[in-house]
């Protein structure tokens, strides 16, 4: 199983390949004091390595993220496949995922896959939308400013 949740810092894993999007997302999250730790990966395979402590992250002692922001358009392994894998693995199946979409169509595609209860947020992150998504997922802790321990 994963590492213990001793750290009080909550982390968000952002899986997004585009630099500009990465920047804007992080800026937005920070600006609104959403969470302390943000970890960004640029493609699906690295994301899975991170989640399952393999590859580059074999010996890492990071905690599992409390929220995943997933972009659909990723190189190598597509966003939907990543999502599927996340849901299939019992270690990560329960981690809430917010899909980053760039269009209404992508929303449709995801829902048609019925890949679990997900929320959507349009890029760049609109704070109101984001707040709504958080509310729906019950992730209130993200808004609280947790002091470092």
């Amino acid at each position: 199983m994963g590492k213990n949740y001793t750290s009080k810092n909550k982390t968000i894993l952002v899986i997004e390949d585009n630099e500009n999007d990465q920047f804007l997302i992080m800026r937005s999250i920070r600006k609104h004091n959403i969470a302390n730790d943000i970890f960004v990966v640029g493609d699906g395979i690295e994301a899975l390595d991170y989640l399952y402590y393999r590859g580059r992250y074999k010996d890492s002692n990071h905690t599992a993220p409390h929220l995943i922001l997933l972009d659909l358009k990723l190189p190598k392994m597509g966003g939907l496949e990543v999502l599927k894998k996340i849901r299939e693995n019992p270690e990560t199946a329960l981690i809430p995922v917010i899909i980053l979409t760039s269009s209404d169509e992508e929303k449709d595609i995801v829902s048609s896959y019925k890949l679990g209860a997900n929320s959507y947020v349009r890029k760049p992150i609109d704070f109101v939308e984001f707040a709504e998504a958080i509310k729906n997922l019950g992730l209130y802790w993200l808004i609280l400013n947790v002091s470092a321990e």
């Binding site: 500009n20 804007l24 800026r27 760039s102 269009s103 890029k123 760049p124």
Partner: protein, 583 residues
């Protein structure tokens, strides 16, 4: 029964029949008349011959006997005392027809007789008709025939008065019968009758003996015997009477009617049978020919029918008739040309479809790809505004605002283009939709979003159409949205939805009493991005109506708009109805 002249077969057969029957009828009539006339002429000729013969015979008969008596008289006058008696006797013996000769005094008493045992001298004959007749006639008097009681023969007397005596002779007319017998020909019987109808002589000796009177038969009611030739027709006989001159007698020629009728009937019968037989033959032949031609035509019909149904590879075969073959040649050429054109059209169609698809894909992907950089323009402009405002003066902040606004506009435009493109792509998923319900729910949405607005809405109930639900929803959203928008300045906005029938077609409409538009530019309303109002008056990119037009077009319908500035607008559209939807 159908009009037979409307079919080729019928016309041919009927024409053949008419062409046969009419000439045959005419010929029959002519022939039968000719036959009848010939018969009649022949009979007339025969009759003439007979009557002439009889006349001649009768005349000579009369003349002969008159001469005889004259000779006797002359002899007597010259030799009054010379054996008159024996002279008379021998004359009577010599001339078989002369039965009796008498010389009488002027008071009727017999002076001399050729037959003492029959009539004695001194006998009073004044009561006899011949006496009266002689006394009152200038020349010879011939009596009416009578039956001589002594001989039993039909007899006539002739008598003449001389200065002091009367001579009379009894003459039998048996010879006539013999004569007539000789004259008789196969179909006629000949008789001689006197003017009372008594038969004096008959070609049939049996009848001559019977001494009939023709008036005994019922059909001689009329006074037949005048001085002219008369003819009587009865069922059994044709009878003609010809007077015999100088005598007051008549020749009667009777022709057995059946004998006359027979040839006529026969000829009719033959003609009828001939007509009938030829008729049957001609009808049979006619039907056969008509059928053959008809079959060729039917074959042609079937084959051309195939082509009409769309089978353009069908080649019509030639028939046995030249006239059809030219037609067939032309038809085949036409089919070839149709096939070629169709092929070309299909090719062009495919090409068009391909091009369209490419264009759509292009416009879609371009619009889609434009979004990402646009996103960054907006994102970083805002970041700039928020994070660097300290380093920016008002001018700089102003510039940034313009950049942000423009980028946002661009975003809206791109979204609209993508919306338009989405509407054009994809399969139509038609089903039965309750338009009334859809319209009402769209109205409700707008009212919810804009609770401060007071808009009266009138929706016709139970309007059902067969169409793609999503696309129609987009179209109605836009139309109602427009009406909602343009009634924004009205105190009491009114929007109405309904359907009416025009020329048997359903026309749907959405009307409002809003700002309206200049109808002169009505045709431009449906162009993408074309607006008839300033964006400061009413916002919008002008994509909405062209979206609606695309949706309606994809449903095989038409859309048009009417409006007047300040008086509101009305949008009308039709859809291809389910009954017309064959493909």
């Amino acid at each position: 029964m159908k009009n037979p002249f409307k079919t080729l077969k019928g016309t041919m057969i009927l024409s053949l029949m008419l062409m046969l029957i009419i000439p045959l009828i005419i010929v029959s009539v002519i022939v039968s008349r000719t036959i009848v006339k010939e018969l009649s002429d022949t009979l007339t000729e025969e009759n003439e011959v007979i009557t002439r013969e009889i006349s001649i015979y009768a005349e000579s008969f009369f003349h002969k006997h008159e001469e005889l008596l004259s000779t006797i008289s002359s002899y007597y006058i010259e030799n009054p005392n010379f054996q008159t008696e024996s002279a008379l006797e021998s004359i009577s013996k010599i001339y078989e027809t002369v039965e009796l000769v008498l010389i009488l005094d002027l008071d009727g008493k017999v002076r001399f007789t050729s037959n003492e045992s029959r009539t004695k001298i001194g006998f009073d004959m004044s009561r006899q008709s011949f006496f009266d007749g002689a006394m009152n006639t200038h020349g010879y008097f011939w009596s009416l025939p009578f039956i001589d009681p002594v001989t039993g023969e039909t007899t006539v007397t002739l008598s003449k008065k001389f200065d002091d005596f009367i001579i009379a002779g009894y003459v039998v007319v048996k010879d006539f019968t013999d004569f007539l017998e000789a004259l008789e020909y196969d179909i006629a019987s000949i008789a001689i009758v006197d003017n009372s109808g008594n038969i004096i002589a008959h070609s049939d000796p049996a009848r001559a003996i019977r001494r009939e009177n023709i008036n005994d038969d019922n059909y001689y009611n009329e006074d037949v015997l005048g001085s002219e030739t008369r003819e009587i027709y009865s069922e059994d006989e044709f009878i003609s009477f010809f007077p015999i001159s100088h005598t007051g007698w008549f020749t009667m020629i009777s022709i057995d009617a059946s004998v006359v009728r027979e040839p006529v009937n026969n000829s009719y019968m033959i003609l009828f049978l001939t007509t009938f037989v030829i008729g049957i033959i001609e009808i049979t032949v006619g039907i056969y020919i008509a059928n053959r031609i008809n079959n060729s035509i039917k074959k042609l019909s079937t084959q051309t029918g195939e082509v009409a149904r769309g089978n353009y590879s069908e080649i019509i075969q030639k028939t046995e008739y030249e006239e059809f073959n030219k037609l067939i040649e032309n038809f085949n050429m036409m089919t070839d040309s149709i096939r070629d054109r169709e092929d070309k059209l299909l090719e062009t169609n495919e090409e068009m479809k391909r091009v369209n698809k490419e264009l759509e894909a292009f416009s879609y992907s371009v619009s889609h790809d434009l979004r990402a950089p646009l996103r960054y323009v907006v994102g970083f402009s805002e970041a700039l505004k928020e994070d660097c405002s300290d380093n920016l003066d008002e001018l700089g902040k102003g510039y940034i605002k313009k950049i942000c606004d423009s980028a946002k506009d661009m975003g809206v435009l791109i979204n609209d283009i993508l919306k338009l493109s989405r509407v054009t792509r994809g399969e139509l998923n038609k089903k039965n939709i309750d338009l009334s319900k859809m319209v009402k729910s769209i109205f409700d949405y707008f009212q919810r979003e804009n609770p401060e607005r007071n808009v009266k809405v009138k929706v016709q109930n139970d309007v059902f159409v067969y169409a793609d639900e999503n696309l129609i929803h987009v179209a109605l959203e836009n139309l109602i949205g427009n009406s909602w928008k343009f009634t924004g300045k009205e105190e009491k906005g009114e929007i109405e939805f309904g359907v009416k029938k025009e020329n048997g077609q359903r026309v749907f409409y959405i009307r409002d009493n809003g700002a309206g538009f200049d109808s002169e530019y009505a045709h431009m309303i449906f162009e993408p991005f074309q607006r008839l109002h300033k964006s400061t008056e009413f916002e919008g990119t002008g994509i909405g109506t062209s979206l609606v037009k695309r949706v309606i077009s994809r449903h095989g319908g038409k859309i048009w708009a009417e409006g007047q500035i300040g008086k509101g607008a009305a949008f009308y559209f039709t859809l291809k109805e389910r009954s017309e939807d064959n493909g």
